[in-house]
């Protein structure tokens, strides 16, 4: 910033200031346009808080007796997350291998790896669930597959990054001692990517518990099925019970995942 020739202090010079205002005006205009495009009647908006409040009042108090009934689907939700994450890791290992710059055999496999990573990540879990329910019918199997396919991109990307950070010297040392290719993997590579690997697995599992709560809306198993049913039958206190239960397992899995990640680092 130059001080010469300036008698008044200004926070920013003129151009930057004008741009800043322009950006704010444009942002507000776009938001207003978006609002118009949604074509929502104002009376609905005005009523919305009251409607939400009414719903909560109808839900309260939660049905504690129902709590025991939803234990099996809650366990199923967690299982879907575990198996989905496990399956995702199995599928991700080869994809990570070809998606990592230092292990991929050639440019074509690298591109394929990157494509699979980006492609699977862009499709939401619920869309995968729609597909698998068509193929395998309703139930947790479709849920596991949906969660697994949804996770492939995330898991392979992070494992590929872990592989790219490998110190080649440690691999070289094992080779220099006459280690077999398997020894190279077991001693040279696995210890190096283990923390990244465990971190990714537990982190993704944590995310997947959350994802597994919703795939039931399209019939792919887990607590979502029960939430959908309770809503369709207007069993409001059961709805609240389920919401609280979901909150509980999500928070618990978050704590567990954070603990595990801390332990392996």
């Amino acid at each position: 910033m130059s001080y010469e020739g300036s008698t008044t202090w200004r926070k920013h010079d003129g151009r930057a200031r004008a741009l800043r205002y322009l950006a704010i005006v444009v942002a507000i205009a776009i938001t207003a346009l978006s609002w118009r495009a949604l074509d929502i009647q104002y009376t609905f908006v005005v009523d919305a808080p009251r409607n939400l409040g009414d719903l909560l009042l109808r839900m309260y108090p939660p049905n504690l007796a129902y709590g025991a009934e939803i234990l099996p689907p809650l366990v199923e939700t967690i299982n879907i997350a575990i198996l989905g994450t496990g399956l995702a890791i199995l599928i991700s290992l080869p994809i990570a291998y070809i998606g990592a710059e230092n292990t991929t055999p050639n440019a074509v496999t690298y591109a394929l790896g990157k494509f699979l990573i980006v492609g699977t990540r862009s499709v939401n879990v619920i869309i995968w669930a729609l597909f698998f329910v068509v193929i395998f019918g309703t139930g947790a199997l479709s849920g596991v597959l949906a969660v697994a396919f949804r996770s492939i991109g995330f898991v392979s990307k992070l494992i590929a990054e872990g592989i790219e950070e490998i110190d080649a010297g440690q691999v070289e040392a094992i080779r220099a001692m006459g280690g077999s290719p398997l020894d190279v993997v077991v001693y040279g590579i696995v210890p190096q990517i283990k923390p990244a690997f465990v971190g990714v697995a537990t982190y993704r599992w944590d995310i997947n518990v959350r994802e597994a709560t919703v795939i039931g809306f399209v019939g792919a198993g887990g607590i979502g099925v029960y939430l959908d049913t309770a809503i369709n039958f207007f069993q409001w206190s059961n709805v609240l019970t389920i919401l609280i239960a979901i909150l509980g397992i999500v928070i618990i899995s978050e704590v567990v995942s954070a603990y595990l990640r801390k332990k392996v680092s």
């Binding site: 440690q170 001692m177 006459g178 398997l182 020894d183 040279g188 210890p191 283990k194």
Partner: protein, 277 residues
């Protein structure tokens, strides 16, 4: 006994790292390779156990030609060559004991290696060697908790546990401070003597080569320009080894004697001119 004849290495980039190197390592002598950076010292060492594939020439260890070995034979022969690295190349996240015992990998089935199922005798020897290199009692520590000097000691222990016929040592001290460097060199040569095995060591600091090795080979631009005892390495021999303007320019940060830098200063400018073209 190690005999290297007419060894050449041309990298895919066209760099001629080694241009007909011939030398021998006999009995239990400690031979050091000195020379400016980029002279091919590391390449030479790594060609011996074929971490780098030589382009042509021959390397014979105890009557066995190394350059033509199949992959399987090579793995078997690599057990006879203990290697110590500049950056230690230990498995950072494993324990000291696992690292030392990994020296036995070439002798074990992969299944046993996977289960960390080591021979009783190897474990006993590992404890003994750890004591000898001065890191006894640290076997359960993870390597990433150790200091540089301690790491290199573990690296030496690992190489010794291989029961090799020769030690290949690549710049063992350049990641260490001067004091630790002397300690490590002292111990390395002492253990080699006790084990009665020869050492081929490539080293940056000429002082260390003079103090700890029986014979010095000077390498410049991929060629052997000196081969003699430390006593024979006089001022003119040093000049021969380090005179190449090109290499001097590349090693401008190196701490050499003043007379050298003066005598070669004109060549440095020549070299930098060459590079800019």
């Amino acid at each position: 006994m190690l005999t290297i004849t007419d060894l050449e290495k041309v990298y895919p980039t066209g760099d001629k790292a080694l241009q007909g190197v011939s030398m021998e390592v006999d009995g239990n002598e400690v031979v050091s390779i000195i020379g400016p950076s980029g002279a091919g010292k590391s390449t030479l060492i790594k060609c011996v156990n074929r971490l780098t594939e030589p382009t042509s020439g021959s390397i014979v260890l105890d009557g066995e030609e190394l350059t033509t070995l199949s992959k399987k034979e090579l793995r078997k022969t690599r057990r006879d060559m203990g290697m110590i690295f500049q950056e230690f190349n230990l498995i950072e996240r494993l324990t000291v004991m696992e690292n030392v015992l990994s020296g036995r990998l070439g002798y074990m089935s992969s299944w046993n290696a996977f289960r960390r199922n080591f021979d009783d005798e190897d474990v006993q020897n590992a404890y003994e060697i750890l004591d000898r290199v001065g890191v006894g009692g640290m076997e359960n520590k993870r390597v990433d908790e150790l200091s540089g000097g301690q790491r290199q000691r573990v690296g030496i222990a690992r190489a010794i546990l291989q029961r090799p016929k020769i030690l290949l040592v690549d710049e063992p001290t350049s990641a260490l401070d001067p004091e630790t460097s002397f300690e490590v060199m002292e111990m390395l040569t002492e253990i080699a003597r006790e084990e009665d095995i020869p050492v081929l060591i490539n080293i940056h600091e000429v002082e260390l080569a003079l103090d700890y090795t029986d014979r010095i080979v000077g390498l410049t631009d991929g060629q052997v320009v000196f081969n003699g005892t430390p006593a024979e390495l006089d001022e003119s021999a040093r000049d021969t080894i380090y005179r190449s303007g090109k290499s001097r320019a590349e090693t401008g940060t190196e701490d050499q004697s003043q007379s050298q830098s003066q005598s070669s200063s004109s060549e440095i400018t020549d070299a930098s001119k060459e590079k800019s073209f």
